[in-house]
Amino acid sequence: MSLQVDDLRVYYRTLKGDVKALDGVSFSMEDGEILGLAGESGCGKTTLGKSLIRMDGRMRHIGGTVELDGRELPIGDDRRMNDFRFREVSLIPQYSMSAMNPTRKIGRMVRELLRSRGATLDLDELESRLSLVELPHAVLDRYPIELSGGMKQRMVMVISTLLDPSLLIADEVTSALDVSTQKAVARALIGFRDAGFVKSMIFVTHDLALTSHIADTIMVMYAGKLAEKAPATAIVKKPRHPYTKLLLDSLPEVGVRYTDKRLAGIAGSPPSLLDPPAGCRFRDRCPIAGEECAQEPPMAEIEPNHFVACWKA
């Protein structure tokens, strides 16, 4: 067991009160697992990714524990987390365009970064990893501005995994890229896992189709809570939560003819997380909601490794 998250609660402090962005999230990840974290904007997926590595000033750790390789991560304590960042937990940010120092050549920046962490640069290792993501070695002598978006994204991937972290969080790494670059970056991520540079990976995205190609397991979030977690094929082929089903039904696909058929969206919008309603949070938009949905549904394992938080599943 690589990562174990128990009843994690993270709130944002605002003038109007606490925004309950993560409200009791529990899950675990195996070694070598790629977990796709999918959901729409405001469902808490980025908050979950962030709280595992660095909370920003507005975020408060209310409760719950995170255990990585048997050690508890002090996620609420910014300073103590420093020992874990980069070595144990690492992040590929969404906007790698702005993640690198524009005034340094990349090679020098990497050397300085490693020195600040008390590690030395193994040039052969770095170059072999560059070849893995199909970057020429000459990029080390260039400035970040000389690289294209996809190249920068892959460069940042190499940098953040240099110290072989146990957990890598990839937050929307492909959403700013074109489809063909997206494919190359996604394949490089799988390559990193296969080569053992990272033990496990959380791949945060809003694109369910892309996640299904990369992830072993997909976790769907809705309004600060987990809706469904299952192996990727089960989510795509046999979703059990009504939200997952409706979400999949609203995705148009290439190669399908839509002459008369129209897809349908999900009516309504997610509840405000300032004061979320009691019971199931999808109740207002759910076509099959009933009396029992006024009670909060527990996360139940209805099939091996298939967890659903719905009374009707």
């Binding site: 904007s41 074109d178 494919k183 369910l208 399908v256 897809l263």
Partner: protein, 293 residues
């Protein structure tokens, strides 16, 4: 209705504008009334530049763009018939004012003679046309509305005019999967009312869902265009094939595009020339970069 004929846009780049860069190079296609045409391309392909030129927001370097035979002429008369909706609905509204102020501005500019009551009724029925409840969205501030609602209000704003052509530039890329399909379905309804829609996007699956015809752009030139079913069902240009193979699909694994074959049209190609591979399906030379000019 909308007709682009050999349109070119050249930007001056480099220090003191010493170099030139052709963002759009000899693009010709048309959009008929009652039709959605999707303009597909990756970043830097010039798709947004084309949208901007049609809306008169960027000057045209060469060629001509006409709407019903009238060349693009920014001004009240032109914008009465041609309107655009853009990617980011949140920055299209002034956060200080209520969202329905965009309707008020249309009235003041175009319909000052219409009575208050009649205008109010017109706004409400247009808002209902875009599948929104007037009581829920009118009189609210932009931050109280969702991205999908704001985007649909902008479409309603365009519909209040005597609209013939709507340029929709990446209008769903900031929306969630569950709401973007409603906006797409709305565009599909507009074409049934006789509007021409130019749907600019980088997302092939959305273009496939919506459009009758598809134009695929690469580095400012059209590589393939035609009826959507033919372009997506039987892609002929290697670039289109490569794009299609890179799209993640839910139910089938990623495949690799077939390597570049010899181009059938290379022998007798001229730059920008298109060849009719089958009726309603035009393809450019695959080795255009190496073609004799």
């Amino acid at each position: 209705m909308l007709k682009l004929d050999n349109v070119t846009k050249v930007y001056k780049v480099g220090a003191f504008g010493g170099k030139v860069f052709a963002a759009v190079d000899g693009v010709s296609f048309d959009v008929q009334a009652g039709e959605v045409v999707s303009l597909i391309g990756e970043s830097g392909s010039g798709k947004s530049t084309i949208g901007k030129m049609i809306l008169g927001l960027a000057s045209i370097t060469g060629g001509s763009i006409t709407v019903d035979g009238v060349p693009v002429k920014p001004g009240k008369d032109y914008y009465r018939h041609v309107q655009g909706v853009f990617q980011d609905p949140f920055s299209c509204y002034n956060p200080v004012f209520k969202a329905d102020r965009v309707f008020r501005m249309i009235k003041e500019a175009y319909y000052p003679q219409v009575g208050e009551k009649e205008w109010d009724e017109r706004v409400r029925s247009t808002v209902r046309d875009v599948r929104l409840d007037p009581d829920q969205v009118l009189g609210r501030y932009p931050h109280q509305l969702s991205g999908g609602q704001l985007q649909r209000l902008l479409i309603a704003r365009a519909l209040l005019l005597d609209l013939k052509l709507l340029v929709a530039d990446e209008i769903t890329s900031m929306l969630d999967a569950s709401t973007r399909i409603d906006v797409l379905n709305l565009l599909a309804e507009l074409k049934e009312r006789g509007l021409g829609v130019l749907y600019v996007t980088h997302d092939l699956s959305l273009g496939n869902y919506l459009a009758e015809r598809t134009v695929v752009l690469r580095r400012g030139t059209v590589v393939e265009m035609g009826v959507t079913g033919k372009v997506f069902g039987n892609p002929l240009h290697p670039y289109t094939r490569q794009l299609l193979s890179a799209v993640p699909r839910l139910h089938s694994p990623w495949e690799d595009a077939a390597p570049m074959q010899t181009c059938h049209y290379h022998e007798n190609a001229a730059s920008g020339a298109m060849f009719e591979a089958e009726p309603g399906h035009l393809v450019a030379c695959a080795q255009l970069d190496a073609c004799p000019q």
